[in-house]
Subunit: 500 residues, 4 copies
């Protein structure tokens, strides 16, 4: 047990919250490092009220001023980078370098939010009819909410609220209760950067908090990132209550390796994509689709060699490539998937199940695992494992690879390794996936493009961050204006002031 | 009973459809003029299958070719204008000039859909990282569906499917079963214009057809226009099934008249806005908010005079300003609202309840009604009447007028009549309404802007037609591309075959 | 001599023009087919005056109405296609299929101009400061002028004036005096389509007309396409007189063929790019840069075979691939280049100098010529020949090919034939050329992108047609608006008349 | 004489420059405070060479990294604000608060340049033809140059080079030789912020330096702000040498005051617009056009009262509203204009010619002057005085006011004071002026819009800063790409590598 209590942040103050709470663990040690409050409905409503109250003044603040808070936040995040990364690693487990990468991506979203005077420009048309003008304004919605997952505790919140508030909204964020500290700290820095109290509120919590957000009529928009079943629930519930919702779910991203690819380069790229952050990323690559047996053999040989050199241990050790999984339960679940893959008949080439990290025996570690001859029917092919388990599927042609990808229920990311322009073009054009890489294993769009999957990886129509986020966090107002003539131009009204 | 059977249009052929059907009436005579098939689930699924089958080829057709079908359709619609307007008036009742206005607005949406090569442009970024490029493509969704209301039987379908198919989707349209003929005829013209069979399908039907569209996983997007309760149902059901949905509902649009307005001009403008098409428009003005009693008195005096000069009769008579309501049941419902207004204590200044149109005694006519001293608590203030009933509310200030508007559940359109720049700016900035007119009574955005209300007038995030429709009918694909160096540039790889 | 007199078209009427004139020849026969008037300064000024007079009303015509004239012109151009192509072939010489291709490209520019309501949208910003709004409007300039070359007598004028007039300008066009009839006919069709008289005026003429356009202060913008020396003159003179000018000049486009290219495909593509329209295109490919001797040998073998199958003759004969050159003088000049190439030491693999077309001995024909081993120092490498003369340069690497291209004074177009993604990306990123093809020999941008070269191929900053043309033919007006408070919102000013 | 020598800044180092130099004066004291080097042609060429050498690496630096240098520069400018403002006031004379305002506007341009990843996005079109894609890239030009005026020594350079370098260009800046220190200091801060040496170079100089920039073929673009005769010269010379040029010249901005305006508010606004920075601003208001004599009388009464309260003295004194003019020669020239206005018959209501600032008798001071009954024929009406001299013109109607404005040779800015929406709309639509204010006296566009006048106030087509600057500092490259099929998709090539 620990003395540290992770609170809510409402209207510019830390609030201890209701009676319920639960421990937050350091996955590298298995020890509880803090106790996080779990908001009851009333606490969430308090946060929403604070956001609602802060809205009118913030909405009327010129976009340029709102943008400058984002610029200043960027400076503060860079200054507090080490502190935030330490929080991420302590609660999530990922290695510090990876935490720094996550934070950097998050900062880029803050940076993009600082462009908001440009991004909010509406369209103006003179003379839509004789003497009639029309233009659009992208006005803020009011209170928006974000519900974010454990795997990117700093970055995913930064996908959401900076653009939401830059657009003039106020916000209630519910970060993951597994690793809530970095998002909370960033919220405090945002106020230091100039965000008025109440504009951004953080509630710690679980399903009760989520439901309170989904049912409150003052919450106009909900952004969610998590697993597909929850995403579907959020989308259905929020929409039923009249909210606009974007709900990002799970993934099972396939990397196609063509025979003409630079195999050494592809293998290096795929190592990080498969095992980085223990595979706990919705853009991770858990499946390689090798076109041709020779390709498969070469890829596997390369992977084996590189896996052998990997170092697994606590995220705070600079030399480590991979840390622990997020919780004991999750580690056990991933290990069970590996057991099942073996049972289903896949070839377990590298078995990480026996890994023990000396001095961290209670940590939630699992070594990297590699399967060959994974088949589409297997559970380890179909389901999102979210662990350091990479499978190779062997196919005979690009068409066969693409048919597999398109048949899968998820549609988040994919990539192809090739030198061939035609293969790349055909793949990027036709594949039914939202984010596509060509020789790029993790095609996460940069902050000035938008992030989103297809099929059951995203519910809604607008993607996360980038240009789509501007549209999601605003409502269009279209104005049509005509000034009837009263003789102003002829001066009849005005021309004899002396006798008026 | 009639011999004319209004069929489905699936895969380029008229299909008689299932066993159920119902009559379509001419509201000016009260006579059935046709029998419309009502699709069962299987028929809807056949239409979806046709659309699904037509998708791959249509999706691969270059946007410019798709655009040209729209250009050609525009030409055909202009050529067949009289025929289509006759169908509208026969089944809906509106006067022919109004039908022509409706069709013209619809044509403008076809025109905008013909700009699609420009509208589909994605964003390209060279060097998002060293040697890495990223760009977005707006790809079609697959099968989209539209469910449209009786009040604009030609226009509202043209808000939807032209842009949907121009973007590369295929479509299933379910028009209103009260006046389905014009949409059907236009679908046939679209094929004459070059649309391949199966790209646009029309199913006639009622709730069974709607539910079949909402539950079919092949339908990726649903656009709806109708009443708010149905819009909510559509939004909740479609989203529950993972579809993207835009659902436009009811309205109660207020027109504010300021003391400095050009009253004569305002009155003329409001006459058409209140009584045009019997008030059966979601952008109609059923409420005038007069600022100051003197303003109210002048407005009412002007309205009385102009109402006295109105001519009500069958829509086919050129001299008529207003035709019948759409059905007997609706006429009776509107009449009951007038009764209720009187009972609630509003002043019925002009009473149209007794109107008889000679020679059309069975027609669903109701004369124009005008209430003064309507109060916010009254049912006739709160509910959408969708009939020729105009009410005047008296307030003391612009702030009071705006408070009323913002407190109403609907947020479709509103307008202000004034000469004052400050009043116009304050109103347009702050009012919680999606479409705002300044001295424009019906601020329906032109086709190259987008249409949509706020609050309970629209569920979803993207508005109808215009730029938002392009986003609604496409899904974003973001591609990130890198070509690893293999020494190409030095030519080492390639130059060896010769001995230079 | 001929009876046909080609006139000016000013203010909606054919004007015979001044005292000077010159014959127009049919290059296939060497016979004069018409006499074209040559405008004196006064005639040009009359045209400018007509344009100036037509400007105010046209500028105030809503963009949508202007756009519809373009839509209607498109319909008329398709209907009169055969007639226009006949005029092109008769005066220019190109084969009819090529004339049809030219006209089609021109029509696409008319089509793009019809999108102008979308393209003219300005940018609107609410709250650039507290209570202050700002927006931009792209307003027309007034009178614009176009000076166009002989080689695309229909298309290049359509690059210019449709967008100029769609943006609200009026226009004076001076087509080439060698083949002026198609542009004149199209101007007449434009008025049939609804363009008011004076909005588009055509003056036939030579340098006197050009100078009259460049020195008249009422002409605000000049678009020119022609040779580089004249482009420089136009740019210097127009700018000296305060006009905005875009002046497109000459080209010497290189096609790089990589060893991994599909050679058969490349050869077929390059045949048309080199010899189509006798090479009289600023996007023609007169130079192939083969990487590796083996590549060169294979390309040359393929070209020889296909050249042997080419048919040269009058453009009106359907079987012909290539017609005559435009004038006798130009044919002689091109032939002299071939002589010089031989003298300089290039290998003349195919010699077209001796070609005689039976029955058309007076036509300005020259057979296709092919040089191997062209070197950068040679005149036939450096200068734009504008004839059916193709040269092959042999290099050892892509880097060497690119160094050649970048060292050349022209920068219009180039292309690379390869299958390799890296080669394509490196080439497109770094090459100092405005229009770049990857496996596309003539990378002429489609009408919804813009056309323009770099280096000495274009003077000015905005390219021709597409989005850049909208900017070129408009001037930006930025409006900043604030309404000081006079208590309107409280209603104090307005409510007093009544005693409520 | 002074010991301080103001040097060039080339390739990251201060260079003393050639043999020529001249003093820089403090206008408040009339004392020389520094000696500025005047570059000879060789020095300018050295700077261009440095810029040329820095270009390839800078061009290949990802836009996001270039943007971050701008973000960092913004931070440094804010930190060094006092230092820079002191330099401005010492050499230019304006009061410190005004210098701070200038710098703030300049910083906003740096801020906008930091959005460049968004601003550089090109347009991407999939399937411009079957299997053919096309996209545009906005690539940098190479070396660009800026020549800037004395009146905004910090801001106008910041209009230019930050966007130029953010777009990937390198730059040579020649600030005004009268007050060169602030621009030089900012250049040094830019390198501190991360700009590599050679990317931004500053040459001090006069006409020799200007001519060296205009004639060097390595300089691709020239931006100029100054007087109209010089702007014309720059435009003609640069264009003659094939450069792209935007040259902003003089102004004579009229403010229209309508009878319904809030006169007190208008007078306060106009005081600053007329006398701020001694009227040495191209957006200053030297002319008020009062509609109606009563309006004129009220405006003049208000102005007289406020002028009487003005305090003129050294810019370093916090209480001062207005400092000295920039040079003795300029002060004398302005004074001569006042003499001439009296001679021409205008009513000199307030005469500032006799002003003596105690303790600063050698300073270049002139008190505020106010003329009534200025007429269009007078020299003080026609010419840009660039001093604290305000004239009132009396007219009878808005039409008359607009006719005056449109007849004037300059077209930079204008404004109207009114409450009437129709007057504002008619004025903003029709007036032939590039920047228009409604109740805003100095309608300088914010940094995310663009700055530019019409008529003889700007030569070129693209305006300064904002979106237009992105287009000006880039050249469009359009790529058209097709990958011919080699059976990749069928897998024939790749699918059986083992047996190949």
């Amino acid at each position: 047990m620990t003395d540290t209590r992770i609170t809510h942040w409402i209207n510019g103050s830390a609030l201890p919250g209701g009676s319920r709470s639960q421990p937050v663990y350091n996955p590298a040690t298995g020890q509880a490092v803090a106790e996080v409050a779990l908001a009851d409905t009333a606490t969430v409503q308090t946060a929403i009220s604070a956001a609602q109250a802060a809205f009118p003044a913030w909405r009327n603040t010129p976009p340029l001023k709102r943008a400058r808070v984002m610029s200043q936040l960027k400076v503060l995040l860079e200054q507090h980078s080490d502190e935030i990364c330490t929080l991420i690693t302590r609660e999530h487990g990922k290695v510090l370098a990876d935490a720094a990468g996550e934070l950097q991506r998050g900062i880029e979203n803050v940076e993009y939010a600082s462009y908001v005077p440009e991004l909010l420009k509406g369209e103006h048309s003179r003379n839509v009819g004789p003497g009639i003008d029309s233009w659009s304004e992208m006005q803020p919605l009011g209170v928006a909410a974000g519900i974010t997952p454990f795997n990117f505790p700093a970055m995913v919140p930064l996908w959401m609220w900076p653009m939401a508030v830059a657009c003039g909204n106020t916000f209630v964020l519910k970060p993951s209760e597994r690793d809530p500290s970095s998002a909370l700290r960033i919220a405090q820095l945002a106020e230091e950067a100039g965000l008025p109290p109440g504009v951004l509120n953080v509630v710690q919590g679980d399903r009760e908090a989520v439901d309170a957000l989904l049912t409150d009529p003052r919450v106009k928009a909900v952004s969610f990132v998590g697993s597909t079943p929850i995403a579907e629930y959020i989308y259905a519930q929020g929409c039923k209550n009249g909210q606009r919702v974007q709900a990002l779910g799970g993934a099972k991203n396939h990397a196609v390796v063509m025979p003409d690819a630079d195999i050494a380069n592809a293998v290096s790229a795929l190592m990080g994509a498969a095992y980085g952050s223990c595979g706990e990323r919705c853009m991770a690559i858990p499946l390689i689709v090798a076109v041709g047996d020779q390709t498969a053999d070469r890829v596997i040989a390369g992977l084996k060699e590189q896996i052998a050199a990997m170092k697994v241990g606590p995220g705070t050790q600079a030399a480590c490539d991979m840390g622990p999984l997020v919780t004991q339960a999750h580690r056990d679940k991933v290990r069970a998937y590996v057991d099942q893959g073996v049972a289903e008949g896949a070839d377990l080439i590298v078995d990480g199940r026996g890994l023990v990290v000396p001095g961290h025996e209670q940590g939630y570690f699992l070594g990297p695992c590699l399967f060959d001859r994974v088949k589409p029917g297997m559970v380890i092919y179909r389901e999102e494992i979210f662990g350091p388990v990479l499978g190779v599927v062997r196919v005979a042609s690009l068409q066969e690879a693409m048919a597999l990808i398109d048949a899968h229920e998820y549609g988040n990311g994919t990539c192809i390794f090739t030198r061939d322009g035609e293969a790349a073009r055909y793949f990027t054009d036709h594949i039914q996936i939202g984010m596509v890489g060509v020789n790029v294993p993790l095609p996460v769009p940069v902050a000035y493009h938008s992030f989103g999957g297809w099929k059951r990886s995203l519910f809604g129509d607008l993607h996360a961050y980038g240009p789509d986020a501007v549209r999601f966090y605003t409502k269009r107002k279209t104005i049509t204006q005509r000034w009837p003539s009263a003789g102003v131009r002829e001066g009849a009204v005005f021309s004899f002031p002396s006798s008026r």
